[in-house]
């Protein structure tokens, strides 16, 4: 046997290719782009949540030296092609389409709604110009919460909708809901609220747009999760052919769902750049990011649970209302995913689910890391509430309800098979990692000293990618393309539609391709972020590990076969006898025969081959997710609540996770820890707050608090042995799980800590003031 490389890159914590540039300040983020003659944009924004726009006068701004142009909403409409929001048009949202303009024209719908754009020689001057734009408003009553939005008398945000219902009420039933509830031992009612919070990536939105009038081409440098989705939006709105639009992205400073496609502001900047004939940059400031870029969650759930006296969760009947903010977008699609995922990994036999999406005078809904995460919060919260009523242990009630792993697999009542789900294993592993009896003893001792410790457990599954099932023949997440090419210097280039913004794809995809093709890791390049060269794609929904990882593997295999076919002729050897290792093609058993893959590529480019041999060393691969599978796991938190100050400290946090085969353990752990940190922040700190007039109260990082290094404990992670479903590709997505399950884990722990006060918690946001209220309410017997 010839020598086989002992080590594989896949599965090892290879150091990131991205880091040398990032650590030296040489990363290229959108605000680092400078083009000759570049101008700067700033937006005039509404100070009111809901008002008619009577007039916009930008004449004084236009006269200020250094101001190049100022456009109102009406100007922008004349400069562009009217139509719905491009992302909504792409995704095909149901129901009537609300009026959509780049800038507000006749009406503003949230405090921060853009009204005019000012283009100037510098950002400082552009902001000066904004001060001089005079807007007259006629204030309307603001609709600042869902219950008012549901009231038919509330003033409609969109005249063409006639009310504030963004997606009409619907009800679906799975299993026999009436019979389940009629025969259950107990039926309990809960109202669970999830508050509004938001992505807050370190880098906000931004773009630089440059129009070449001679070629009729617009180039947009931006921060986006998909350059192609941005390109489609620009082409639609600017009325340009798609091949005349090029969207580029470099390093991106985080997103977590915020930067999907081109925002209204980015489209306005592109239109303005075309109009003025000079490049225009806009980078939002933190105030704009917090008040206008978008916010997530804010959902309420009226839940009835049918339960047996032994603790079996038999059925749920849920009424969900989601507050999608001013301009309906993805928020209207979230209830459908919540419905599908609500049973989780449990044997739930019946589910009634109704939902309504409303529009309000707040920043628009955007995706945020696990947009459907409330299904896990609701389910894992009520399991603890039920356990308390029945005197059951939180681990016990979960193990009792978790579907066993059977062949064929159990099927969620909403339809998807729970193939390979390791929920029970993860709960059992948590019980081994955390000594519950010892904790209960310590908890009792601490309580005797007036200290309140609590432990919480929660579990989740994520369809990343989800199981293959007959109902979706195209695969659980559609198809992921990739183009791969062997360059003449031996570099294997991967052109991917993935658009990493912290996920480290330059490293992980190279690891997989290097192993499969047989070249050193350093010999693989991953190309992203240029619509002229990369295929369609999107980084989001935790799809990259399986989908891009899978296509990297299959594509490298195809490319390798092609290289071997060419080498077979060059080397006059049978293809079956050739192998590629360490960048060399050689005849098995004859190391002296080796030639480099670069040599093969050079000779392929110039050589003559027998008819029928394809010597173009490039492949266009596609992957449909294979057999797919679930990501999932269980988390456990131990907290201490200071009942004098209301401050919660997370003392210990343990994760037992199954995200399939690991590509790069350090990167996987980073994804999990980052998600958990955001989940801890969501519970203890973060809230996108509005006053009764619709003013955003969390417009700075002193008001919108995110966790610091002192707020997040060391997070212990155990990876479970996974159940492989596919022959080759068992990498599963891990981007969202931490953020999905950390909130119920932490809230469950807090409720446990407050058990001596009899506190019951029905909400997700528990800052110190709220903790003190819960204690006071319990003290006063409410």
């Amino acid at each position: 046997m010839a020598a086989i490389p002992a080590e594989r890159y896949t599965g090892a914590s290879i150091k990131r290719s991205e880091d040398p540039r990032i650590l030296t300040g040489a990363g290229r983020y959108v605000d680092d782009i400078k083009l000759p003659g570049m101008l700067h944009a700033a937006f005039v924004r509404s100070p009111l949540a809901h008002a008619r726009v009577l007039s916009v006068d930008a004449s004084a701004a236009r006269e200020l030296p250094g101001i190049v142009a100022a456009f109102t909403g009406t100007d922008l409409e004349a400069m562009t092609v009217p139509g719905p929001d491009a992302l909504m048009a792409l995704l095909g949202g149901a129901g009537p389409t609300p009026e959509f303009t780049l800038l507000a024209t006749d009406k503003v719908r949230f405090a921060g709604d853009p009204v005019a754009i000012v283009i100037a020689e510098s950002r400082y001057l552009a902001e000066d110009g904004c001060e001089l734009v005079d807007v007259e408003y006629d204030q309307l009553p603001p609709v600042t919460n869902a219950s008012f939005a549901l009231d038919p008398s509330s003033p409609p945000l969109f005249a063409n909708l006639g009310d504030n219902i963004a997606r009409p009420h619907s009800r679906n039933e799975f299993g026999d809901v009436p019979a389940t509830f009629a025969t259950a031992d107990r039926v309990s009612d809960f109202r669970i609220d999830v508050h509004r919070h938001q992505n807050m990536p370190m880098e906000g939105r931004g773009c630089v747009a440059s129009y070449d009038g001679g070629l009729g081409v617009i180039t947009v440098y931006t921060a986006t999760q998909s350059v192609h989705v941005s390109k489609i939006a620009v082409a639609m709105r600017l009325g340009m052919e798609q091949d005349k639009v090029r969207v580029l992205a470099g390093d991106i400073g985080g997103s977590f769902g915020l930067k999907i496609g081109a925002s209204r502001e980015e489209l306005a900047v592109a239109a303005a750049a075309r109009a003025v004939g000079r490049p225009v940059k806009w980078v939002e400031d933190r105030g704009e990011n917090l008040t206008t870029s978008g916010q997530a969650r804010e959902e309420s759930f009226d839940v009835r649970a049918a339960v047996s006296n032994d603790g079996d969760l038999l059925g749920l009947d849920v009424n969900m209302v989601i507050d999608t903010g001013a301009y309906p977008g993805m928020g209207t699609m979230v209830p459908g995913i919540v419905e599908a995922m609500l049973p989780g990994p449990y044997k739930l036999a019946a589910l009634g689910f109704e939902s309504t999406a409303v529009t309000t005078n707040k920043a628009s809904y955007v995706a945020y890391r696990g947009p459907w995460a409330s299904e896990t919060f609701v389910r894992e919260r009520i399991l603890d509430l039920i356990a308390k009523d029945l005197g059951l242990d939180p681990l016990e009630i979960r193990l009792r309800n978790a579907a066993p792993r059977t062949d064929p697999p159990a099927v969620m009542i909403t339809g998807r098979p729970l193939a390979g789900v390791t929920t029970r294993e993860s709960l059992e592993r948590i019980a081994q990692l955390v000594d519950f009896p010892a904790f209960r003893r310590r908890q009792a001792e601490a309580r005797a000293q007036g200290r309140y410790l609590g432990i919480g457990v929660a579990t989740f599954i994520e369809a990343a990618p989800g199981p293959r099932s007959p109902e979706v023949p195209s695969g659980p997440m559609g198809t992921e393309p990739m183009r791969l090419r062997l360059e003449e210097d031996g570099i294997v280039t991967l052109f991917t539609g993935q658009m990493p913004h912290g996920q480290s794809h330059e490293t992980t995809l190279a690891q997989i391709a290097a192993d499969e093709f047989g070249v050193p890791f350093e010999q693989v390049r991953v190309v992203t972020g240029d619509t002229d060269v990369v295929p369609f794609g999107l980084t989001g929904g935790s799809r990259s590990a399986t989908m891009a990882g899978g296509v990297a593997l299959h594509g490298a295999r195809q490319l390798k076969a092609k290289v071997i076919d060419v080498a077979s002729q060059l080397m006059e050897a049978s293809a079956q006898d050739l192998q590629i290792t360490d960048g060399q093609v050689w005849v098995r058993g004859d190391p002296a025969s080796a030639i480099s893959v670069g040599e093969v590529a050079r000779r392929a480019a110039t050589g003559r081959f027998a008819p029928g041999l394809d010597a173009n060393l490039e492949v266009e691969a596609a992957f449909d997710g294979g057999e797919g599978g679930w990501s999932g796991g269980s988390h456990c938190a131990i907290v201490e609540v200071d009942v004098e100050t209301g401050i919660v400290t997370v003392e210990r946090y343990v994760v037992a996770e199954d995200c399939g085969a690991l590509i790069n353990p350090a990167i996987v752990d980073g994804q999990i820890r980052g998600g958990v940190a955001q989940g801890i922040g969501a519970v203890l700190l973060e809230r996108s707050a509005y006053d009764q007039d619709g003013n955003c109260q969390s417009a700075t990082l002193m008001d919108y608090l995110v966790p610091t290094a002192c707020d997040i404990p060391r997070i212990e992670i155990e990876h479970l042995e996974t159940v492989p479903l596919d022959a080759d590709v068992n990498f599963r997505g891990v981007g969202e799980g931490g953020m999905i399950v950390a909130p119920p884990t932490v809230v469950n722990a807090i409720e446990d800590a407050l058990a001596p006060f009899g506190a019951r918690i029905y909400e997700q946001h528990l800052p110190p003031a709220r903790i003190l209220e819960l204690i006071a309410a319990a003290d006063s017997g409410q």
Binding site: P201, R286, L701, M702
Partner: protein, 156 residues
Amino acid sequence: MVEITLRVNGTACTGPAEARKTLADFLRDDLNLTGTHLGCEHGVCGACTVIVDGRAVRSCLMLAVQAAGSEVTTIEGLAPDGGLGVVQQAMWDSHSFQCGFCTPGMVMQAVAFLGDHPDAGEQQIREALSGNICRCTGYQSIIDGVLLAAKRSRGR
């Protein structure tokens, strides 16, 4: 406009600065040192941290004119030979970062802190970095990087 002279990464720089221009914008726009990032422009997130006369400073809260006559070090000046400094190398080895936007400020803060506190332990390091926000990592990998850098520095 005020003509200012300062030393940045060991090189004397002279240029006009509008009185209201922040040091961060001067570094980024006038000196093309775009490694210094702006994450909030109100002094909370720490992404724009640079070292001015030996102290970690938020360059979004300092005017360029206030830095006249000062010695400024930015992320680009940490390892002028094109390599990585001790903190940078330790952070690479520790998989400290993800999106990289907070990185320059976090690195500068860590360099300044370790310079004054070479024997710092984990809790001290957490407190020292608590004014620098990272949204991606949950901080553990960053803390591990700083601990590793401290250990390596002490071992010299």
